[in-house]
């Protein structure tokens, strides 16, 4: 089983190596790998979100509606709210991860798979790297709102 897993892992990585395709981003990733991850990165992920966001406890309804639209178009083929699919269930993800972590995972899935211990674990468990779905930072924020709302009400 072990060698097989390694092969899967290697194949998955081949794909993730180019995702995003932003060389600046990759340089940044290499540096962090050398230096080890900061506390922020360990808790909130690696990606364009590098500081805590000011997110109110109340749900922003406009954002939630937009988030649901994006979720159905770009996420739902691989994620159920309850139960594992191609990827993990997301009904409780707002409980398990910070908004910044969720956004970094959406915006930099390749980098997370390669350089973040939690990302690496996911690849080993699900045997594929989450693709970057061309989601903008604003839409990633909207997805957070949808996931937070779902988590609160289900």
């Amino acid at each position: 089983m072990k060698p097989l897993l390694t092969i899967f892992f290697a194949l998955a990585l081949t794909f993730s190596a180019c995702s995003g395709g932003d060389s600046q981003q990759e340089t940044q990733e290499e540096e962090t790998q050398e230096q080890g991850l900061s506390d922020f990165e360990l808790e909130h992920g690696i990606g364009p979100i590098t500081a805590r966001l000011d997110i109110s406890d109340d749900i922003d309804d406009d954002l939630r509606v937009r988030g649901q639209e994006i979720f159905e178009m770009k996420c739902e083929m691989c994620h159920n709210m309850e139960g594992r699919m191609v990827g993990p269930a997301l009904g409780d993800v707002a409980d398990r991860r910070s908004p910044e972590y969720i956004m970094n995972m959406i915006l930099n899935p390749g980098g997370m798979a390669k350089n973040h211990p939690e990302g690496e674990k996911l690849v080993q468990e699900y045997m594929s790297v989450m693709p970057f779905q061309n989601v903008s930072e604003e839409d990633a924020r909207a997805l957070v709102e949808y996931l937070r709302d779902y988590n609160m009400n289900n």
Partner: protein
Amino acid sequence: MNKNNNKRLRGILLGAGFVALAAFLFTGCPSEQRMLDSGDAAQKVYVAPGDHDEFYGFFSGGYSGQLSVWGLPSARMLKVIPVFSQDPETAYGYSEETKPLFNTSYGFIPWDDSHHPHISQTDGNADGRWIFINANNTPRIARIDLETFQTKEILELPNTGGNHASSYVTSNTEYVIGATRFSIPYEKDLDVPIDSYSDEFRGSLSFIEVDQETGMMEVDFQIVVPPYNYDLGRAGKGISSDWVFFTTYNTEEAHTMLEVNASRNDKDFIAAVNWKKAAELVRDGHGKTMDAEYYHNHYNGKKQGYAVSEVKNEVTVLDTREIDENFIYYLPTPKSPHGVDVDPTGEYIVGGGKLATVIPVHSFSNMLEAIENDDIDDYIDGIPVLNYDATIAGEVENPGLGPLHTEFDGKGYAYTSVYISSEIVKWSLETFEVVDRIDSYYSIGHLMITGGDTVDPDAQYMVGLTKTAKDRYLPTGPKQNHPAQLYDISGDKMELLLDFPTIGEPHYAQSIKADKIVDQIAKIYEMEENDHPDALLRMTENRVERRGNDVHIYMGATRSHFRPDNIEGVKLGDDVYVHLTNMEQEWDVVHGIAIKGSQSTELLVPPGQTKTIKWTPTRTGIYPFYCTAFCSALHQEMQGYIRVSGPDSNVELTWSTNE
């Protein structure tokens, strides 16, 4: 022996002589191979892995019907863009979206012969918006957009037999031009004896207007001309921007054994057309409308989805016999000219006479002066024939045998491919003297200089497109792929850098500096802009619908599964339409679908696009389908089943995933 017979005999002898000579040259050894020291040549064409080439080269596929894209100078093939022939790799011409592009007034045509690509221009410079290419056999012009490298439109040309003098654009892409290589009876479906050629047959020159926003083409007008063969065309530039030029041969009006019978006259013509004036005449109502039938196939604007076919029923023509004003002139040009090429300043119009012993260079200013001074030798069907000596600026002596096509380096030199003696000659636009020559291997047709057909050539590389490759690389049986050869022209002497095989018959090529277009090239089809009527925009909406005997499967694909992946309730006698949407938004991640026993091809769908294929099951049973792309580590698991039952079965239509 009377004069006519004598002339005829001379023609035959001359023709036979050329054939013998060509045969000798084909079998003989090349005399001179001047190549950079191979280490230096290797360095000049070496583009390290991961690095990018400096130029995009677009090579026509000739009898493959396609357009191939190459990185230069490495000669790496980047892509084959399907245009006029079905392509199983991409489902082009097989998918329901693209099948309408193949409709013509002769029915569905799955093949053609693509010859001359031309990149759209602004102010005489390649602008990288679109690339046009002609179909020679069933006359058509296609437009490919250079964001997605996808064929967006194909327009049939009426009154045309062999659309060879095509698809050249004017300086601001106002028009794409075309012309008939074979004159034909131009009234629709006219059934006449072939030997009524001189009475009933006519030529036509086509002017296709281009919408500057959308790129959409429309036949604006045609000019009906004497029944010669119109071979190649070229738009003027700079001072001659309002003009276009076409070569003719067969001014003898022969209709059999043209090899001999169309080679008698010492001079044929270049037709110089003032397109601005012709367009004005049409606007002022001088054209007449005639019956025609031709197809215009296109996507609607920038949309995805299904291409549509429109049928046109008439065309506006200007008949030179019926209009008093002059808007077209003949320039006598020796002898069966092929190429007609305009230098970057727009002043020199160079003919390439396949059987000529000199390269004639006409001067645009001399031409205007000759028109002004009425320096006219003759009129043919109302077309003034200008005096040769009045328009000619010079003749290049000793150009080799069979000069064909000329390109320019913008530094005062012209380069002419010479077919029969298999060489390229470089000559001065000041002295009209040959300054350098180099062998090509073998039988060169067209050549291309990077930017050579614009007002501002880059003049770094030259590509020779040659017709036979024997002994140039590892043999592949009796038929080799036709080669291209890459030359360095940055110095005084031309130097051969590289041989490489291409697809089909690489008839002609164009190039553009990569950095001019690289930023506009799409990485994905944006899912939110997917306006395909059968797109699956939410994975949860995957479904199967029955409409009478048509079954529509709305299926999504992502790494590494299809939804739905189990389908039952299809019956014999049904036509099954699979609408597959690739739900991914990552550059270059494609999914495919192949169904056992399907009569056409797979579908290969780029990220964010929807494609549709029709499948008619022929037996009952379980049909596996799978993803044809190695899309992820688990791509082998990307599969499903369709159950096909008998026509009277009561198996319900169901679909599921993970149940």
